[in-house]
Amino acid sequence: MMTEQLTVDRMSDTELVMTRVVDAPRELVWACHTRAEHLRRWWGRGNPLDVEIDFRVGGKYRYVEHAADGNAYAFRGEFLEIEAPSRLVQTFEFEGMPGHVATDSLVLTEENGRTTLTTTSRFTTKDDLDGMVSSGMADGAQRSYVALDALLRELSA
């Protein structure tokens, strides 16, 4: 199966957008993002994942990824908006950087049985975004990706 391209764009000092297509109808993709038995199977990227999830507006979640290096990485948040199966807004906080809370909006659109996932991450401040970047954790590093991508394009032109 062809692997789809992941794109990341820094929209402003506090906003990042990530897009990816998957080969499945959106009801299924929605279920994968909202139900513990599904989240456990992919969100940890192959690493064992503990999932606590209370899926309703105002409900909380906590995912703990057990990495191969023996460390555990915990993420938590609250569900703010739920519009099945197209839109999910939740807060996202890495417990290694407590207090720096991002708001992620996931939008799912389906075409010919394939689903586009668009995630917009909003940080409270530019420092929060930069902090995520320098922490080496996932959300926030898009800034460097965009800058480096542009540089590499120019260098190889």
Binding site: V22, W42, G46, L151
Partner: protein, 115 residues
């Protein structure tokens, strides 16, 4: 003070500065040579060079009259390493989702009779 990675990112965030780095990847150049392709003043180019120097991306000669600029690729390697880790992090997550979705669809497909 900002950490080094942040300084490098900030330096790379400007198209003129990236163009300067691209030019320096071909070899040393003076400020005048670097400024030639750009419709901005020498002073503006000097400011860009200061940003690049602070980020550790370029090294400048000692002589005040003749200060050729040279690219130092080390911070770029740092960024590349970091970005590669990040890209892999999300690629892995989505690749796992791809696999899992395929399994789910295979399971829900009409079951075949097996003897």
């Amino acid at each position: 003070m900002a950490d080094r990675l942040s300084e490098v990112f900030a330096a790379l965030a400007d198209p003129t500065r990236r163009a300067i780095l691209a030019r320096l990847s071909e070899g040393e150049a003076t400020v005048n040579e670097l400024a030639k392709p750009f419709p901005v003043s020498l002073q503006a180019i000097s400011k860009h060079l200061k940003v690049l120097e602070r980020a550790g991306l370029i090294v400048r000669g000692r002589d005040a009259q003749w200060r050729p600029c040279r690219l130092d690729p080390e911070p770029l390697r740092e960024v590349a390493t970091f970005v590669e880790q990040y890209r892999r992090f999300w690629d892995e997550r989505y690749a796992t989702l791809d696999t899992y979705l395929r399994d789910l669809r295979d399971q829900s497909a009409p079951e075949r009779e097996t003897e």
